[in-house]
Symmetry: C2
Subunit: 333 residues, 2 copies
């Protein structure tokens, strides 16, 4: 029997469509993983081709070679060299100049790595870089939000093979995030607690959808997953904003993210995916009602007209089953 | 220079990324349109294969042959034969039984047609069927919303070639729609008018983004389009709910939708797309602040991690340019 489920944090409903339900192994990617070279002379992110990108704004070095380079996106969605200005045409059409920062984090000198196949220490450096960048933007007066995300594979919106993630720092607080904050505030008003903290406690107690858990983090397939194998990596310590954490915490979550992505890589045969760090806007960084976390979304299905019209996702896998399929025992890491 | 633009109705921001801007003709699909037979013996929607679908709930006949068949979806996301029941587990996880209706509207006996290549009268019958179904659900006590949508092509989420659209009637009002209604209410409180009615007047006056206009409808590329060639077909007459219109109005909009889809078919070489009829929940059918319309979304780009995290879409085409490219002169229809 199909059912509606509601994510208590986002308040979004989904439909778990059992009539068309598929087993976890039905989602294993049939495509063979392309064998890539360690170095591609044409790749703008490979060592030796540094001139093919804008000059770097940050670098992590080791023994005179770079391990990580942060560069402005050559096709930036937002640009820093413009005055922040609002304009309204016909007293109706609102626009703001595209002020902001759009960076690419080149995660490794090696062309053929991905988070799943990197060493834990390498992923730790990536997350420490995220944190450093995030913190640096928090003091910029004209900025309000930072979105850090990774697009892996064509179905996830990238054709660049070299391992990289991206960061966009923006002056606006998106309406989408305003709504999330509102819903979380209402929960806080009703219950006196953070909805994400409650979710962590209850998921841990129930255990049904837990993929991994240790002292500091829980990894779950959300009760109202929007699509098969949606995965949330949640820190147990309450904090609204990713920019508030310490380097050592960044390193810890990096290792958990790597563990989960390795598991997806193995079990689903290297699926395309996006991940994104959800975090409060800077001004809400101290709030008791919001909670930062990482959402991993394998791109195994295509949202269509119904999702467009309703915002309700139809999913064809049970989170309880995908959690069991992905389960990581603590000894494995 | 890139810019943020806000859709005043949905309140969503988008980024128009001029650094990576592409010209309208860059979006012409390179794939050749597959030549389909008029009849496919294996297709469950072709005449003679009626036994391959669940029994029809509605039919449009002509001279003893069917022109349109409406059947329950074989893999229904929602089902009618279940009691509507709410349940909360651990006082946290909310679910509702998947009560509702999920229909497929088989739009033609011919396997190789699509709206763009049908006769105006054929599309008129399809929209009259939508309306009949919509109205029939409005009196059902346990239902609140109807979403009518069409997925055309693989990138739009369907692999079935036979022309069809779908309808889902549901007991819940999606959070997404609640938010849209809230934003529209606020605009109404601030300005004393429907934000959609104002949008129609101002777009018509400005003319910059108008693809087509007649006495009854306007077709625009929205000021804050979420992706290249997003197109809205809007009735000038204020009405919150699609279910309120007359058969003759349904027929008129059908002809406009056909005109626009034919133009997209010609100019972009048969792109994959979704369309959806946005309409108020039944209980808001008389509201002065909401307005039904049809959104057409060609699937030319892939939303990625940034969109997932922020709800802000980055678009790489200027709506003013795509409108000019699509422009339909009144004589053409």
């Amino acid at each position: 029997m199909p059912e509606f489920r509601q994510n208590r944090a986002t308040k979004n409903w989904v439909i778990v469509a059992t009539e068309r339900a598929r087993r976890p192994h039905d989602f294993i990617t049939a495509e063979e993983t392309k064998q890539l070279p360690e170095f591609d002379p044409k790749c703008p992110f490979c060592p030796g081709n540094e001139h093919m990108t804008p000059p770097e704004v940050l670098k992590v070095d080791k023994d005179g070679n770079w391990l990580i380079r942060v560069v402005p996106n050559k096709y930036s969605a937002l640009v820093p060299d413009v005055e922040l200005k609002r304009e309204t045409k016909f007293q109706f059409f609102r626009k703001i100049t595209g002020y902001g920062f759009h960076y690419v984090i080149i995660e490794s000198p090696k062309h053929n790595l991905t988070i799943a196949t990197m060493q834990p220490e390498e992923v730790c450096e990536i997350f420490k870089t995220y944190l450093k960048l995030y913190k640096s933007f928090m003091s910029e007066q004209n900025l309000n939000t930072v979105i850090i995300f990774r697009n892996n594979g064509k179905r996830a919106g990238t054709s660049l093979e070299h391992p990289h993630s991206q960061l966009i720092a923006s002056p606006i607080v998106p309406t989408h995030i305003r709504h999330l904050l509102e819903e979380a505030t209402r929960y806080y008003d009703d219950h006196g607690s953070c909805v994400f903290c409650d979710m962590i406690k209850i998921e841990s107690y129930s255990g049904e959808r837990v993929v991994y858990e240790d002292e500091d983090f829980i990894v779950i397939e959300p009760f109202a997953s929007v699509s098969p194998f949606e995965t949330w990596v949640m820190p147990k310590k309450h904090d609204a904003c990713f920019g508030n954490i310490t380097e050592s915490e960044a390193c810890k979550i990096a290792k958990v993210v790597r563990l989960v992505l390795s598991q997806l890589y193995e079990k689903l045969n290297n699926p395309d995916y996006n991940y994104v760090i959800h975090s409060s806007p800077f001004k809400d960084a101290g709030e008791e009602f919001y909670h930062w976390y990482i959402q991993i979304l394998p791109r195994l299905t295509i949202p269509a007209g119904f999702e467009l019209g309703s915002g309700v996702y139809i999913t064809t896998a049970l989170p309880e089953e995908t959690a069991k399929f992905l389960k990581i025992n603590k000894g494995e890491n």
